[in-house]
């Protein structure tokens, strides 16, 4: 706190601002929330700058409040994003993105490169980015090997209770260690492997965005006002790994219909019963073999986004994919075409590319070809990596974390395996030492006497923080947002910020606006979904209205008529999938899911980004 508040710079009279972090009220019961997170994550305003800088909330990736352990995803992801801009590629105008947690939510502030240093970075940037772009396929092959090796090693880690006595073999072998070091090493290794794949995550991601951004800028100059959708269509992959899990379910559904196994799917919530009924039918064995085959790796797929310890993964909740298969079977039996029209999508993409190409002035055609080629090569990574890191790596990671949590629960540290999430990852390390010390000396560890009460206290704080939505941004925005990654990755544009600041004006006349993310117009009844568990409520022909959607919601998109989301841009999951399924989508509305009610009749215009509420 400064002593003289009047000395703080006062924004100009017409400049609207978001609140300062220090102005936001702490919800009752959340007092002391800062101490739940590592010290460096909360605003300390040590230099006074945090109350001046513009921060925006990344509710796209972290829509709900972090439990202490869960900050690992935010820390690793945003740190590793930054390292590639700042230290690997030397992106001329952009360093990384600074990040803090405030009242449980993640806020970000892009770090520009000082104007005077930009030019000096250009030659190194071109050398480094150029190397990747010119060796894209072989380096990406290497990436797959590295990432899979990390996951394979992570799978080998296990967390189990220590035995009553060191095995006799260890005595004979002179091992002279009690096995507790294994528990500690495995924990450290788990964190390191998670970190490793987050470093790999960004090896190609920033470049994928750059190639896209380059083509995007080129198109916008050539064809002022060209819809973002058109540019996305030209570079978007069609046969994508991110769609593979959903495609596997469709294949399983078609196989079930072909073998006449429909009757076995009456109650898919009973997974074992369903699989037993299938096994008893002719052709059932073949289907079960295909079912097992599909799981590795494609069921390492979450209904969440990979950043939360409570995210459910198909492979551990087989009732989820089995339920989707059941739904696909029904649709096949009703005569629907469930496979994505891949050939038509490719033909449409080729048409769009060639029609724009025909309009390019002759002297720029070679540039157009080079840029669209590069973007089409590099861009699919932006979508596909998601399966390997957020889904597969994090699926294994969270499974191992739960396993460790169970060891503690069994030792009386806390009641439930998930209670570990209320510790920071540093505290978990301490708790392991507490656990093995008690075990080694034959006395009681301290944890069982300390953590249950502390966890309940922390749970109360997290619940209190969760009662309050984040601010979209903090402090005074710059007059214009120019930093390319902020715009590209987060859809934080000057217009978006203005809309947040003037959101009262947009509420008039029953219209909500957002990004025109997938073309077409549809009218129908809304189904508001704020959590993956509500997906079962979605009825055929409804319009999905969600805070945000996840790749594993794929099966829902075959049922609905259109999508409206609160969060996300042109390249958000909802936008990509809706273009795939030829459904209209309006994304990034900010308040769609809180303004629209389930059952309300709405009209979604994916060409203009407008959603009309047709009844009160």
């Amino acid at each position: 706190m400064t002593a003289d508040l009047t000395a703080a710079p006062v924004p100009g009279p017409t400049l609207k601002s978001f609140p300062k972090p220090s102005e936001l009220p702490v919800p009752p019961g959340a007092e002391g929330w800062e101490d739940l997170y590592p010290y460096f994550l909360s605003f300390r305003n040590l230099s006074g700058a945090e109350d001046e800088k513009f921060w925006f909330c990344d509710s796209q990736h972290w829509p709900t409040v972090f439990k202490p352990f869960e900050t690992i995803g935010g820390e690793f992801a945003v740190k590793c994003l930054g390292q590639y801009n700042t230290r690997h590629l030397l992106i001329p105008p952009a360093n990384g993105i600074e990040f803090k947690i405030h009242l449980g939510y993640l806020y970000m502030s892009p770090v520009p490169v000082p104007e005077a240093e930009v030019a000096a970075r250009v030659p190194e940037f071109e050398r480094r980015a150029g190397h990747y772009f010119q060796n894209w396929d072989s380096m990406l092959d290497g990436w797959h090997t590295k990432v899979r090796a990390t996951i394979a090693e992570m799978e080998t880690l296990s967390f189990e209770a220590l035995p009553d006595a060191v095995p006799f073999d260890d005595i004979v072998g002179g091992v002279a260690k009690d096995g507790s070091e294994k528990l500690m090493e495995s924990y450290d290794r788990l964190i390191q492997l998670c970190y490793q794949n987050w470093q790999y995550h960004f090896e190609f991601l920033n470049l994928g965005y750059l190639a896209y951004l380059d083509f995007f800028g080129f198109c916008k100059q050539l064809f002022p006002g060209i819809p973002d959708q058109s540019i996305a269509k030209m570079v978007q992959g069609v046969d994508m790994e991110l769609f593979r899990p959903d495609d596997e379910l469709k294949k399983l559904a078609l196989l079930a219909v072909e073998k006449g196994l429909q009757a076995a799917f009456a109650d898919t919530d009973d997974v074992q019963g369903t699989l037993d009924r299938i096994a008893a039918l002719d052709g059932g064995a073949e289907w079960l073999a295909a079912w097992t085959e599909a799981q590795d790796p494609w069921f390492n797929f979450t209904v969440g986004n990979g950043f939360y310890g409570h995210d459910k993964y198909w492979i551990e909740h087989l009732e989820i994919p089995l339920g989707y298969v059941k739904d696909y079977i029904r649709r096949v039996d009703e005569g629907h075409q469930i496979l994505r029209p891949v050939e038509e999508l490719v033909a449409e993409r080729d048409r769009v590319v060639s029609e724009y190409r025909d309009l390019v002035p002759a002297e720029l055609v070679a540039d157009f070809d080079a840029k669209v080629g590069l973007a089409a090569t590099a861009y699919p990574y932006v979508e596909n990596h998601n399966f390997y890191i957020e889904h597969w790596t994090m699926g294994v990671f969270w499974r191992k974390v739960r396993q460790l949590g169970r060891v503690f629960a069994d030792a009386g540290f806390w009641a439930d395996q998930s209670d570990l999430l209320y510790l920071t990852r540093g505290e978990v390390r301490d708790a392991i030492f507490d656990l093995v010390t008690g075990w080694a000396v034959g006395a009681e560890p301290t944890g069982p006497h300390y953590w249950p009460k502390e966890i309940e206290r922390r749970r109360g704080i997290i619940d209190a923080l969760s009662s309050q939505r984040p601010q979209p941004a903090l402090n005074t925005p710059p007059a214009e947002i120019t930093e390319p990654f902020t715009m590209m990755l987060y859809g934080i544009t000057t217009e978006q910020v203005q809309q947040w600041l003037g959101d009262d004006d947009t509420a008039e006349s029953g219209t909500i606006t957002g990004m025109a993310a997938s073309p077409g117009v549809a009218e129908g009844l809304a189904r508001v979904v704020t959590h993956a568990d509500q997906l079962g409520e979605v009825q055929e022909g409804e319009i999905l209205v969600a805070t945000i959607t996840a790749p594993s919601w794929g099966p829902i998109f075959g049922k609905i008529k259109a999508t409206v989301t609160d969060i996300g841009g042109m390249m958000s999951h909802a936008a990509i999938v809706c273009r795939e399924y030829a459904l209209p989508a309006v994304t990034g509305t900010g308040n769609g899911s809180t303004t629209i009610r389930t059952g309300q009749r709405i009209r979604v215009d994916g060409n203009t980004g407008r959603v009309e509420l047709l009844e009160d």
């Binding site: 992106i91 001329p92 105008p93 952009a94 930009v118 030019a119 250009v122 940037f125 071109e126 980015a129 150029g130 772009f133 010119q134 750059l210 190639a211 951004l213 380059d214 800028g217 080129f218 100059q221 050539l222 064809f223 002022p224 006002g225 060209i226 819809p227 959708q229 058109s230 269509k233 769009v352 029609e355 724009y356 309009l359 002035p361 720029l364 070679a366 540039d367 070809d369 080079a370 840029k371 080629g373 590069l374 120019t482 390319p484 025109a516 073309p519 117009v521 215009d605 060409n607 203009t608």
Partner: protein
Amino acid sequence: MTTTPDAYVQFFDGGLEPQHELLGGKCASLVTMTAAGMPVPPGFAVTTLAYDRFVDAAGIATEIAHKLAALSPDDISAVDSVSASIRDAICSRPVPPEVNSQVVEAYERLQSRFDSEVPVAVRSSATAEDLPGASFAGQQDTYLWLSGIDTVLAHIRACWASLYTSRAILYRLKNDIPDEGLSMAVAVQKMVNSAVSGVAMTMNPTNGDRSKVTIDSSYGVGEMVVSGQVTPDNIVVDKVVLSLVSQTVGDKHAELVPDFALGRLVERDVDDERRGRLSLSPEQVTAVATLAKAAEKHYGCPQDVEWALDRDLPEGSNLLLLQARPETVHSAPAAPAATPATPAAAAATAAPAFSLSGLTSRLTGQSGQSAH
């Protein structure tokens, strides 16, 4: 000059090749459009052979040539007087019966397609108009909402006579366009009963961007849009994916609509509700853009099309193409205005398929030349 039985008239949908010499620019365009499956209102051309036969039979060719030979473009009153006497001759001398009977029969055949007699438009279709680079639009006449064969015949003559308005005479004098071989075809076409109409250009005229279709649209008959008497809605659509790029609701304070009791078009005010919204639905915008795009594809160069939604036709098949012509004003410059400044350095790099210079300059906010 051969005279085949139907040489004085030709139906747009008659399946014959459009000969510019015979039909003039406008009618040739209508025949081509019809043949290409683009919906123009049904009708027929009174060919240049009909005009030539008339002039020949009336014996006025030498008289006209004589009168024009002595004219100076500076002597406006002499031009006016010569214009008046030539037009009077064209409107009063008898039309040869073989020409007259063919026009009458064609008119009856056209009307036989409808339950009751529909009004027609009569438009001049000069052989010299609308050449790329020398826009001659507006030099001849258009007569709308005509009913009855006698009225139609009189206006065909009026179109012929419009070749010799003072303005047309002066234009030819000043541009050294010879009068020898000058002729005129005339279009007789079912009058479009426009609920909404306008023009569509297959580019963005504000910056020469060819990836857009720009639509001006207003209520009623399109003449008010063309002549600038109303501020139309302005809608810009992406040409490739047909999605909306921008829209501006125009004032559209008035519309021309037919008053059948008076037998003519009347101007009336447009109410606030209709003024305050776009005159086209999103589906209609897409249809108009698709039509303009088809015209451009057909002709292979940017087009300027006039279109209308016909009140008498069912929704979905009521969009009519009234006219398409090469866009001559904005497409004339050699390079589009939207040419980017950056990629000049691209050719200099060793790797043929890849250059970072454009990307770098975009990131640093500098042009290609000054990136280093």
